[in-house]
């Protein structure tokens, strides 16, 4: 669901990196001439810079002197402000408003915030109902325009890599990117060489500011990866299977060899949850405060971390579970199984909501994109498939990879990363809502060890890769959402703000049993009980109070309303209704016959019996 853009409460002002390119928005009180003179934004500069803000400048001593590969999207054309009245209103002073009337709203942007599905046809409604519907539509119109107008506040734009004609972006190495970007962004690319503690799993916090990683041999550490400040580092002296931040960076869940442990940001063990044993994978549902664990024993456990209660423990009946991902759109858990199926789970149901047969071999990795539209799966048959999750569950795209992908991850803007052996491939789609096209990889990177964990950093164009040789932070231009919601997940928030947010988030916690395939189910009427109640009411009353009253002829003038004529009139109406019914049924029959008649063949062949 699209949320209306909101400015953060105290988002640090971004450095104006596009002084040359980006036009300063012209204020109506300013003259045309000041536009060119207008230099920089007011505000402090030299703050942290994001790597997507790739500057369009290259050192001259690079290997590719002519090419400028890293470019930004051209500025969107300014919103059409030309719609002015021919004769603007004049005020007493003689100055005139250059932009009279309400601000123009781009229709397609406003459309994005509209939720009422107008494609569905409504049954005929009475005037009072119609009035209510009109009010609802007007409300929607107003709110969507307001949201669209406030998109002006989203100042950041996503960047991306663009090859010069015919140039393959996948050939661009990380080193080239690092060289091209500014220092602050370049600092986001780093390698942690931790060979001795085995393959690493990693996880970014929801704000994208903190990174936690755990090595197979018990090494657990969290750090503020932007400033590279280590928060804690411990060795749990046990195999670490998976690691995950809870709702904030202060709490950390680690799936250890036997039980699930929870640590705080000092590295102090807070809990040891023995009911979740032999956990292989962890997921956290932030809006429900649910920690989901998949275990070797085949159990899927939902743990409510706000009250510390196990909400549901479901037996998947599919053996060892080691492939799990969360659908960020509807909080449904996707599990991959060794028989090539992917099952969808919610804590409210004992059985899976759906089962999809995806691969001939076992499923190795599953990932779901942030809009909940696409699911990428890779299996033992070396295939990488992208499924449409909107009801049909059919594969949209399938590719055979040379060695199959062991790990998959979607970024916020729909980039798909796949770890195959020691190589990470990233595919990009056309836009945010389109599936990644698998024709050509967008970026490729070779690591020093085999990939063991992939995670895109939220709000930063960074892909964290955990592998046997340690941790690598890759720069992937255009991976993340450039604008963050300052009230929801603010990377720059202070401790006080975090506490504030925590309380609010807890107050808005969604009950676990509301998880289902369609998250908008609450906006629908429970038709089954509605009909049931109606039936009961009819039974209670002995008649249908809402039924159409039978036709009662009105008494007419003297002599005209004899009993015979009344009966005649009644009969007339009844016959008319009957005729209508017959006509309709005849039409339906004709349609059916047409349908039937078409597939008939001229001559049945003897071989037809073998047709399936």
């Amino acid at each position: 669901m699209e949320t209306a853009p909101k400015p953060g409460r105290d988002v640090p002002p971004k450095k104006n990196r596009l002084q040359a390119k980006k036009k300063k928005p012209r204020r109506y009180w300013e003259e045309e001439t000041t536009l060119t003179a207008a230099g920089a934004f007011p505000g402090p500069s030299g703050n942290k810079k994001r790597n997507r803000e790739l500057r369009h400048q290259r050192p001259k001593n690079t290997n590719f002197p002519k090419k400028s590969r890293i470019s930004r999207k051209p500025q969107l054309p300014k919103k059409s402000r030309e719609l002015r009245n021919p004769e603007p209103q004049r005020s007493l002073s003689g100055a005139q408003d250059p932009f009279p009337g309400p601000a123009p709203v781009p229709v397609e942007v406003a459309q994005k915030f509209c939720r009422i599905d107008k494609s569905k046809e409504l049954p005929h409604s009475k005037s009072k109902t119609r009035r209510r519907l009109e009010v609802a539509e007007a409300e929607e119109q107003e709110t969507s325009t307001k949201a669209a107008l406030s998109q002006l506040l989203l100042v950041e734009e996503p960047g991306f890599l663009e090859g010069e004609d015919g140039e393959d972006t996948a050939k661009i190495r990380q080193a080239d990117i690092v060289e091209a970007v500014d220092i602050a962004s370049a600092a986001k690319h780093f390698d942690l060489n931790l060979r001795q503690f085995g393959p690493y799993r990693l996880n970014y916090s929801r704000t994208g500011r903190h990174l936690a990683f755990g090595g197979r041999r018990g090494h657990v550490a969290t750090l503020d990866w932007v400033t590279k400040r280590l928060m804690c580092e411990i060795n749990v002296m046990e195999a670490v299977r998976d690691i995950r931040f809870l709702h904030s960076e202060a709490l950390l869940a680690v799936a250890q060899n036997r039980w699930l442990h929870i640590y705080d940001n000092q590295g102090i063990e807070l809990h040891c949850i023995r009911r979740c044993d032999r956990v292989t994978r962890l997921e956290f549902l932030p809006f429900h405060f649910l920690l989901v664990t998949a275990s070797e024993t085949g159990f899927l456990t939902y743990l409510d971390v706000s009250v510390g209660k196990i909400v549901a423990a479901l037996n998947a009946r599919a053996g060892r579970l080691d492939v799990m991902t969360e659908n960020p759109y509807n909080a449904v858990i996707h599990l991959g199984h060794s028989n090539g199926t992917v099952s969808l789970w919610s804590p409210a149901m004992k059985e899976p909501l759906a089962k999809i047969l995806c691969h001939r071999g076992g499923v190795r990795a599953v990932a779901v994109d942030s809009t909940g539209t696409y699911m990428a799966t890779s299996g033992l048959d070396h295939q990488l498939k992208i499924f449409d999750l909107r009801g049909t569950f059919q594969p949209l795209n399938a590719r055979t990879l040379p060695q199959g992908a062991g790990h998959l991850a979607f970024s916020q803007r729909g980039l798909l990363a796949a770890g195959m052996g020691d190589v990470v491939n990233i595919w990009a789609g056309q836009g945010k809502a389109s599936p990644p096209s698998m024709e050509q990889p967008y970026l490729t990177h070779r690591l020093s060890g085999h990939v063991h964990g992939l995670h895109f950093c939220p709000f930063e164009d960074v892909l964290g890769v955990g592998h046997t040789g340690g941790i690598t932070s890759m720069l992937v231009p255009g991976a993340a959402e450039p604008n963050f919601d300052g009230l929801e997940s603010n990377p720059y928030r202070s401790q006080k703000q975090r506490q504030e947010w925590e309380v609010k988030a807890l107050l808005e916690k969604i009950p676990a049993e509301l998880i289902c395939l369609d998250p908008r189910a609450l906006a629908e009427v429970d038709v089954i009980s509605l009909e049931q109640e109606k039936k009961e009411r009819i039974e209670r009353l002995g008649y249908d109070p809402e039924a159409k009253a039978p036709f009662q002829p009105k008494p007419k003038q003297k002599g005209r309303s004899s009993t015979a004529s009344l009966v005649k009139r009644k009969r007339k109406v009844m016959d008319e209704e009957h005729r209508d019914k017959v006509r309709q049924s005849l039409e339906q029959q004709a349609q059916k016959q047409e349908k039937k008649a078409e597939p008939t063949r001229a001559r049945p062949s003897a071989l037809d019996r073998f047709l399936r």
């Binding site: 109902t129 009035r131 090539g340 047969l357 071999g361 040379p402 009427v525 063949r601």
Partner: protein
């Protein structure tokens, strides 16, 4: 009346006299009373004479006996034969005018009716109530618009206040403002002196006036121009009307021909001067051709043409006329030369089509409205794409024969050609039915190509046909294989595992056979890309049946297809490093891969089984109420009869179709999730009758997470706002500007006029008047 009465009495007397006269003539007996009788007679006569003198005097009969009292009431109307009337009594002896008034009064009194009884109490009360109701409803209906407004309004604020007037622009406010300080006064003085505008800063009154004015000459000129244009238009209209009324056919044909010639000339001219415009013209001509082809205008199918065909045998002129018409049709439908077709394939197809169908046949078909030649062509291509042509070809030889026979006839009897054409067209129309029927078969073929491949061994029978078509097919298949090779290239580069490198597209029959020998496993490999391409090609063919086909296609999704399709492999710059293996290791690797692939078959079977079970489990179960031994013998080994079982089996109605009915690779749980249902709305609120309507009103989220702050604030505004500590008094007329000022009253009414019913409108008008 009195005179008449006197006459009567006189007559009566005379009769008496006559009667009495009789004894006089005959001397009877009496003698002593003679003198007395004489005297009375005389007396009577005198009286009668007296009464004759006109004075209507009633003389009472004289009594012979004396009595002391004579009653005044002893009045008789004897002899008059009439009733005594009151007025007669009142009538004075002498008629006098003074009594007429009294009489009149008396008449009036008599004509007046009696006073009615007063209504009973209930009725009176009812009437009173009705009147009162009318009055109050009229008074109350004045409030209707206000009530409606308050009900529909977004917010109600209590205590009610008068509506604030709209914001006035500052200029308007300033008009009432006066300069006070000396500086201001000075400024305004200056402004007024120079006639500068005080409020509107830019236009002086002079400027405004000059803007408004328009020069006289200009206006005149404009008027004259308009007049001329109008006159011309009317002349032209009149002429057109006159020409339209001309009934002469000859005149019209000449006119048309002239126009056509002119157009042709212009077109030629255009071609020289302006090729682009000529092209446009050409398009128009093409459009006319299309129209002609669509219509049946010159197709010898009209009434006139039919009559002519009957005549044609005997009448040379009629024949000629028909030929002319046909020629005209041909001329009109002839295609103008356009840029040559781009694709080679189509050309080839066309060639084939021409081979199959002779020219004369084509011509006929062009005329015929049944099978569209274009459709036919397409359909032949589609059949060609499909692997078998036999069903389509079957009808064609028949057509061929007829055409041949026609060709033979031609030299013999030219006159009969036309008639033949007619007959043939009819026959063709009949044929077109089965012809079209064959089309779907051709279309279905590619879909089932997988099964065809499986059954290639069984195709020995149809081999002959296939061989015949092979030459034609190979052209296509070669083209396809080229494409296939292109697609295969990357896979080969990357040294695909054995399994994936297997050649899969078996186009020719030989390949098919070989494949069939190799075993059933390979048959499962369905070249999906081929399927897809075929689908694409079919979609380009663009037949009207395409959507339906798609639907069918959906149903025919096969899990096997889904999972065993070979997807194109990804070109990757960095191939993951693998430890170099020894040869036997590689072999082992391959074996493992094959194992993996074979394992997949089990996966599919298992999944299908699981799905079947799930479907079975979710189906509603029938209720069997048979009681063994009831009405028949029961015991071990005895079963109730089938008839009885049928009787007592209650079948449950089938539920709605499963969501995953057409999705073979998906099992969707149909069980109802009761937890969210607890939070859902289960009672429709008042004005809604269908749940869809209500759902639409709750689809927009209200929370601040999804809305901007302002929108959120607006969405959560309270419907009713009250001020604490204030009494909410009932609404008064002054509150809603009634009666306070006439203008505001009017405005209120006008704003709400729409919502008022007609009845109320009338009442309102009355009250306003």
């Amino acid at each position: 009346m009195n005179a008449a009465w006197a006459m009567e009495s006189l007559l009566a007397l005379s009769q008496q006299e006559e009667l009495e006269d009789l004894p006089k003539d005959y001397p009877l007996s009496p003698s002593e009373d003679e003198g007395d009788v004489e005297e009375r007679k005389h007396q009577k006569l005198l009286e009668a004479i007296h009464s004759l003198d006109g004075k209507n005097r009633w003389k009472l009969a004289e009594r012979s006996e004396a009595s002391l009292k004579v009653s005044e009431f002893n009045v008789t109307s004897e002899g008059s034969g009439e009733k005594l009337v009151l007025s007669d009594l009142l009538r004075p002896v002498k008629t006098s005018s003074s009594l007429a008034a009294v009489k009149k009064q008396l008449n009036r009194v008599k004509s007046k009716k009696t006073v009615e009884l007063p209504l009973n109490k209930e009725e009176v009360e009812q009437i009173h109530r009705e009147v009162a109701f009318n009055k109050t409803s009229q008074a109350l209906s004045k409030w209707d618009p206000i009530v409606l407004k308050n009900r529909q309004g977004e917010q109600l604020i209590f205590p009610l206040k008068k509506e604030q007037s709209a914001f006035a622009p500052i200029e308007h406010v300033l008009s009432g403002w006066k300069a006070r300080t000396p500086l201001e006064q000075e400024i305004f003085n200056l402004l007024h002196k120079n006639k500068q505008p005080v409020t509107d800063p830019l236009l002086t009154p002079v400027d405004k006036a000059s803007l408004k004015a328009m020069s006289l000459e200009e206006a005149k000129m404009r008027r004259a121009e308009l007049q001329r244009a109008r006159a011309l238009q009317s002349y032209y209209e009149a002429r057109a009307r006159r020409e339209k009324k001309i009934k002469s056919k000859k005149y019209h044909t000449v006119l048309k021909k002239g126009k056509a010639k002119k157009a042709l000339k212009e077109f030629e001219k255009l071609q020289k001067d302006n090729p682009t415009a000529a092209l446009e013209e050409l398009e128009k001509i093409e459009k006319a051709r299309m129209m002609e082809r669509m219509s049946l205008k010159h197709q010898n199918s009209g009434k006139w043409a039919k009559s002519k065909t009957i005549m044609a045998k005997y009448d040379l002129e009629a024949r000629q006329a028909m030929q002319e018409q046909l020629a005209r049709n041909k001329e009109l439908t002839q295609k103008l030369q356009v840029a040559s077709e781009s694709e080679e394939e189509e050309g080839g197809v066309e060639e084939e089509g021409e081979l199959l169908v002779p020219e004369s046949m084509n011509e006929i078909q062009m005329n015929a409205d049944g099978p569209n030649p274009w459709m036919l062509r397409n359909h032949s291509t589609s059949t060609k794409e499909s692997e078998i042509q036999d069903p389509v070809q079957l009808p064609e030889p028949v057509v061929h024969k007829t055409s041949e026979s026609e060709e033979e006839d031609r030299p013999e009897a030219e006159e009969e050609i036309l008639l033949n054409e007619f007959e043939e067209r009819q026959s063709l129309r009949k044929k077109s039915g089965p012809n079209q029927d064959t089309e779907p078969v051709g279309r279905q073929e590619p879909k089932d190509s997988s099964s065809q491949e499986v059954l290639s061994e069984l195709r020995v029978l149809s081999q002959k046909l296939n061989k015949e078509n092979q030459s034609g097919k190979q052209k296509l298949s070669s083209a396809r294989t080229v494409r296939a090779v292109q697609r295969k290239d990357p896979t080969e580069e990357e040294e695909e595992p054995l399994l994936l490198q297997r050649p899969e597209r078996a186009q020719t029959v030989k390949e098919l056979e070989e494949l069939g020998k190799e075993g059933s496993f390979q048959n499962k490999e369905v070249p999906r890309s081929v399927l897809e391409r075929q689908k694409l090609e079919r979609s380009t063919n663009n037949e009207p049946g395409a959507p339906k086909e798609k639907k069918k296609k959906e149903q025919m999704i096969d899990v096997q297809n889904l999972l065993t399709t070979k997807s194109p492999s990804v070109k990757s710059l960095a191939v993951p490093t693998t430890i170099e293996k020894l040869e036997d290791e590689e072999e082992r690797d391959q074996k493992q891969m094959i194992k993996e692939a074979f394992a997949g078959d089990d996966v599919i079977r298992d999944f299908l089984k699981e799905k079947r079970e799930a479907v079975e489990a979710s189906k509603p179960k029938d209720v069997d109420l048979t009681l063994p031994g009831w009405g028949e013998w029961g015991g071990v080994g005895l079963k109730p009869s089938a008839k009885k079982r049928r009787w007592f089996l209650i079948k449950t109605p089938e539920g709605p179709p499963r969501k995953d009915k057409n999705l073979p690779n998906v099992i969707i749980n149909e069980k109802r999730n009761v937890h969210p249902a607890a939070h859902q709305v289960r009672v429709l609120p008042y004005p809604f009758t269908y749940h869809q309507q209500f759902e639409r009103t709750i689809q927009t989220p209200i929370g601040s997470t999804w809305n901007t702050q302002r929108a959120f604030q607006k969405l959560i505004t309270r419907k009713v706002v009250t001020k604490p500590g204030h009494i909410i008094k009932p609404i008064k007329a002054e509150d809603v500007c009634y009666r306070s000022s006439s203008r505001s009253d009017l405005s209120v009414v006008q704003r709400n006029l729409k919502q008022l019913s007609i009845h109320h409108k009338k009442q309102r008008k009355k009250t306003l008047d």
